[in-house]
Amino acid sequence: MKLKVLFTCGILAFSAAFARAQQQTCDSVARGHVVDYQKAHTAVQANSQDTQAAADENRATMDLKADLNWNGDKVCLVGLILHSKIGGVDVAKQLEAALKAAFQQNGSSTGTGGSTNLVSKGATAELLAIATNYGALTESTSGSTVTIQGTVGGIPTALENNGILPPCSGALIKSCIKNSTINFLNRFSYTVGFDTSQNSQTVSGTASTTSSQGTAQPATFTASGHKLNSATAKVGVIRAPMASATAITEAITKLNRTSPEVAADAKALEAGERLVIHCPQTLINDWMERSISTLTIQDTRDENGFAAAWYGLGPSLIAALEAEPACKANYASDSQAVAAALGAYLVSLNGFFEGLRATPVLSVEYDYNSPQNQPTNSTIRLIGQLNKGSFTGSLNAAGSFYNSKPSTSIPGATRVRDFQIGAEGSYGFGKPVKNAFLGTSTASLAYYYQDQTSPAILNVTPGQPLSGITITGLPSNATQVYAQRGVINVGQAKFTWIPSKLNINFPVSVTWSNRTELVTGPVWRSQIGISYDFDSLFSR
């Protein structure tokens, strides 16, 4: 079964060999080289003394040779081989089979109670489990909260990285996911927080009868589960432009052997080397020369005709390869391995370049919050961000709403909980200073305004204290308490010291607010922290 899946994935993934983009295909690239050749050749025929035309003809010949030999274009030759080999295979059915097999292979996650619960909750949970297994999600734990976050595009990307889904080839496969589709899906991100401290339900009991005076009393129990802390869905409405060439060059310079792109490239190159070891260039030299003769007499204005001529080279290439027993025994599987490895490499490259984009210019976010001991509420937030050199400015505007209508006994309480506006300006020292002491440190100032149109509400259970809050004089039948509503102003100054080469962050901040949601007096806070990137120990 596994072998069948690998075979299927190999065939499906060969499309990646063609998949640089819809605009660049093997036949269109070769056609461009033939156009150059024919133009230069005609000029040379007309005037044998035309040295420029002779140089152009020589260059076009080099390009054509490169299109048709292992030293030059393994990608397109592998494409030709697999194109000829798969013939009438129903690719869509193979894709379906590969997916099915992948889903069946996916076992239940082990680990925290929270993750086990995910697996047992049907289709969505199954998708999350698959995504976690294949690396589409990042999972973090802070205290008793497990947070899962990812982008919608992360799931197909992870499946592509693992050879389950093929990257797209406009040439042969329709049942595939284009990079542009994945990049669109990556505009949608989500975060889900689970409170794992309450894997065990909170159980409340009420005596069933008050008439009995015995020492043993019957009681009715109700359970209160509290697993989901918060969920956030975010859409990047306006994306930042692609990174500049300088930023890309800088990022490439920082790649190391553990970088996914470098590791994936190494695998693709290794696969290509194996193919050439089994099938040396000498086997296809004559085929290369014959193919150049075939292509250079084609009418390059007829795109479809040229494409047919290009793919028509496949059978004779296979015949040349099968002339040598060692090659014959290996070239098909080697080609599939090359295509699969190239597919993974291309997906990782797409992720690399897309990852260099700055934060979206404009995003819309929906937050579902289920804070402990408070009614659930939703927030819709508009997030704007501006990057200008070392300066980053952010502006947020949001409205928060209770998910259910508050009790009418709470004065002034409506579904609208509050309105918020926040602004932050931050300055990164890394770009202009480039000094080891300051490294990539940042300094920021932020201001936050919240108009509480409804008072903050706390749910209380009679007889059960709230964690961290002591309320005195509360009637025994009270189920909710509320605070005084008003306007909250918060200001924060923050400096994060990130010296070069130490992989340590020291954030220091001072925060002032005129009040909090519950406490009406002013509050000053200062925070200092330290974090160390342990991954850095293994990345050298």
């Binding site: 020589n58 030999n69 292992w70 060439a245 890309i248 290509g272 030299n285 490499y345 690399f352 370049f353």
Partner: protein, 134 residues
């Protein structure tokens, strides 16, 4: 894209260096390159998008398999390595490419000798350049 890329500008120092490499195009053979002894420096001349050396996966080997060290100062745009008289080498170039990118590989010397036209589709699989030093 190409506007602010430093690789667009020929290095002032190497722009006066005499060229060492020349292409040999013969029928029924892949293109090979002849070179004079010394240090060969290759440079990627950007066209559209990004094509850069994946330096960590680039390799130079003598015909007997001996690995020739690439200059540690190699960048995504340039790299160099020494070649000696009478020996044959294979320069295996690995590239990092983004969609639809094009570029030209040249010898970074006075005159900028053309070595190879690169496009994202083909460069992703790596390219190999056999070099014979006279």
């Amino acid at each position: 894209m190409a506007k602010d890329n430093p690789a667009n500008k020929p290095d002032a120092a190497t722009a006066t260096v005499p060229c060492r490499v020349a292409a040999i195009v013969v029928p029924a053979q892949p293109t090979t390159y002849s070179a004079s002894p010394g240090t060969i420096q290759f440079r990627i001349q950007p066209g559209t998008g990004t094509i850069a050396f994946d330096v960590l996966n680039c390799a130079v080997r003598e015909s007997n398999g001996t690995v020739v060290p690439i200059n540690p100062n190699a960048t995504p745009a340039t790299l160099s390595f020494p070649v000696a008289k009478g020996k044959s080498y294979t320069f295996s170039a690995a590239y990092i490419v983004n969609s639809n990118a094009t570029a030209t590989l040249v010898e970074d010397c006075k005159g900028q000798t053309f070595i190879d036209d690169l496009n994202a589709l083909q460069a992703a699989g790596g390219r190999t350049y056999p070099i014979v030093v006279a």
